[in-house]
Point group: C2
């Protein structure tokens, strides 16, 4: 795998000086187009061996192109705040917007590799984490991101020579740290881990480029040219600026028309006399649970989805009434901002993932992708078909980090919805809750029903199950929501 | 001050039920206008005594209005990540956008008050922090934010009765925490601290409303009506939707035309033979300083401003070459995003304030307000005149939190600029650096010079001094930048 990179490629200074001006100009032109059209972003990962010139490459690329549109991320050890959320969070938080180039020195590869080199994880764990990386990058690519990955290589001998030469010169001695020598001692381990990593994550959509790190001229030119070529090819594309792969036909409704929503008993109700004591009982339980010492170590993400007028807002308020306002946040999901539109669709949800000891309640959520966006044809079938897997990956990451993920579908019948729509229209201060869109959506009742069934079937997982809430009776629904939350938290304590 | 609030106001249930529907409808209408026009945001602070119904008020307001456009922030004790940056940072980070309402339960008042109640600070410290709050709110108001502040009051006796009544009922017992009783024991201290606070921060532009917290109906109606009235008055305004106070005339250029930029010796240079060793010497020193154990506890904010073509980018790259990419970030300041435009101008800089152990380099900065925005008349004189004080407050907060603030003005002569502009036009890969705007700015050379002099005079403070860098010779400038950074860090260690 690294044979060619160890050959000792080199370019003499005269040739380098001849080549660079044209390359610089072409790179700049490509970047100007990238910025102007802002159709996609470029994520460049610079990985490799210590001493292979990664830091220098960052400076060269910033010099060759317009650095105002390049974001360089070093990504050191997680800082205090980073540890509060799943590891991917900090990469999401700095994902560049369309039109920008993100240079990542240190990336989602760094910690799995170091964990393996220092023996903190087994080979199988490394493989699992690398598969997750490959899926993450697949999602980025599907979302239109141009992902370029460089592995800057040195053989063991080359690395030793490089570190020694830097150390000999008093002017460059400061560049060599104890960490570099520590890593050198573990060269073989890193070499093996890197081979597995590059094998598992060198995909067609985001291949690795292995580049010899020995000769500065060679590596700068090689990488510069590759970046230029990839940007140019991508810029020359017409249309949405990204590949939309053909998808198999979306799932068909079940032929006997029996489905999970039909199986709900919407006549369930909680009598008014039973409601108040039940409400206070479960609010009290929830309150105590969230004030429990163990609660400081976990966070909770609650998704509220449901038919229009199913009572999401009312259910949320019965939950918040039991909580200390310092520890929760309600996130209403409406039209994305321009910063959100410029990034993969999950970005706007990642930015609201709570830190430990906190609760985030999403009033509508990432499931919009497989509900409204599917039914209203706002994205092609391939995009919402892949979303099921992407969402499962997302929620699995939350769960793996100790986040309790609770998802409610508030379900009402078609005639109950009509009654509520009419009531809303008749009450002055409820009128804002009903729009033409609600009436339009209602006409597509069956299509939404299919979409909900597919969603539940494909995204109800052990870590993040859906709770279907019979909501024709608001009191019943509110108690079921509170009770479910209490039980999920009790199960965790 | 609290006499009226202790009188025991109350509204009976029948009257309450009669009043609420009309109020709800009117509030909703006002909110719909607020959202539609998105000219300003509303910040509502809900402070007061424990047991005065602050949490319930939040739920009521969310029920009366459209909660999708209300952001409720509890603001508990700072979490791990919050402590990395100045205390105001977390309020900045959640400041609502124009068109939104932010409900703050816990605010910039909470910690100073609690610190005083628990005897951690003296009365004078409380006064100082409250004056800072008043200045902060003045800035928000000047930026167009509608700031509404409610102090929900209970007398000592009323508080005791309330806590006891909640505790007696098994269904509401969970609402009373040990913290509430602890605070009750210190009622007198809080009462005194609150009086000082309300006195010092009850300004004409952001007055306090003191509301009796005893009777639920009374407090909900009182606060609801006040919010409605304030929103309506503000919505009825024409024009920019905010007050632009008249300002005294901006400073005139010095009459003898002698100023600080003229006093710079732009002929200073570093010979090529001396440059390389000096570069490596200071890069080495800087590298060691930033890898020092003490560096983990501080963060650095570096501002690069200067004439067009003065060499900011080149100077920045000579600094980054010495740094570990994991610990720095370069923030180029260009056109704001829509999320940024929807908030006070300092917001977009606060969001990039680094956590401990990190360096943020701003390629242009908040000083744009008093440079380009002043000279190009992008904002009225009153706005850039107040910016000097706001910027000093901002930087003082950084310094107080241990952030090293280093500010460079890279200065070149008018003829040197012309030479560089022409050189840029003649070199293919430098052409992107020169635009029509640069030529236009150049025509206003004298106006920019005045603006720079005023800026240096008004914002060079002991904690955040300006360093003027003679930059006709790039080598000299780069060494001076590196040397200054080293010295500032050494002074701190």
């Amino acid at each position: 795998m690294f044979e060619s990179a160890e050959l000792g490629h080199s370019i003499d200074d005269a040739a380098y000086r001849r080549e660079v001006p044209a390359l610089r100009e072409a790179l700049l032109q490509a970047q100007v187009e990238l910025v102007r059209r802002a159709k996609f972003q470029v994520v460049i990962l610079i990985a490799g061996m210590d001493g292979a010139g990664r830091g220098e490459l960052v400076n060269v690329l910033n010099e060759w192109m317009d650095p105002r549109h390049i974001e360089t991320w070093g990504m050191g050890d997680p800082s205090a705040g980073d540890d509060e959320r799943p590891p991917t969070w900090r990469f999401w938080s700095v994902l560049p917007a369309k039109g920008k180039i993100g240079l990542f020195l240190g990336s989602w590869y760094t910690w799995p590799l170091l964990d393996r080199v220092w023996g903190r994880i087994k080979r199988g764990d490394l493989a699992e984490r690398m598969q997750a990386n490959a899926r993450f990058e697949k999602m980025l690519v599907d979302e239109g991101v141009l992902v370029l990955k460089f592995w800057m290589h040195l053989s063991r001998r080359q690395q030793k020579a490089r570190l020694e030469s830097l150390s000999r010169n008093p002017r460059t001695r400061w560049r060599v740290t104890a960490r570099d020598w520590d890593h050198h001692k573990r060269y073989e381990k890193l070499h093996k881990a890197a081979e597995l990593t590059l094998t598992l994550t060198g995909t067609a959509e985001a291949p690795w480029m292995i580049v010899s790190g020995v000769d500065r001229n060679y590596r700068n030119l090689t990488i510069g040219r590759y970046i230029l070529d990839a940007m140019r090819k991508r810029l020359s594309r017409k249309g949405p600026g990204r590949d939309v792969a053909p998808a198999l036909p979306p799932p068909l409704p079940t032929i006997d028309n029996l489905h999970i929503l039909k199986s709900l008993d919407l006549t369930r109700r909680t009598r008014k006399s039973a409601f108040k004591p039940a409400l206070e009982k479960y609010q009290g339980r929830l309150s105590l649970l969230t004030r429990h010492a163990k609660f400081r170590d976990l966070s909770v993400v609650i998704v509220f989805e449901g038919n229009d007028a199913a009572g999401k807002g009312g259910a949320i308020r019965r939950v918040t009434a039991a909580l200390d306002a310092r520890f929760y946040q309600v996130i209403p999901v409406a039209a994305p901002s321009d910063e959100e539109r410029a990034r993969p669709y999950l970005w706007r949800f990642w930015r609201h993932i709570p830190d430990r000891g906190r609760i985030a309640m999403f009033d509508r959520s990432w499931y919009g992708r497989v509900l409204v966006e599917r039914v209203e044809r706002l994205c092609p079938p391939h995009d919402w078909m892949r979303a099921y897997g992407e969402i499962n990956d997302f929620e699995a990451q939350l769960a793996a980090h100790g986040v309790v993920v609770v998802k409610f579908w508030l379900s009402i019948g078609k005639s109950e919805q009509l009654r509520r729509f009419r009531e809303r229209e008749a009450t002055a201060f409820k009128r804002f809750k009903i729009t033409d869109e609600d009436w339009r959506n209602r006409k597509k009742w069956n299509q939404y029903e299919s979409a909900v069934c597919d969603m539940v079937e494909r995204t109800s997982t052990g870590d993040a199950p859906w709770t279907l809430v019979e909501s024709n009776d608001k009191n019943y629904a509110r108690i079921k929501v509170l009770k479910t939350l209490c039980r999920r938290l009790e199960a965790r304590f």
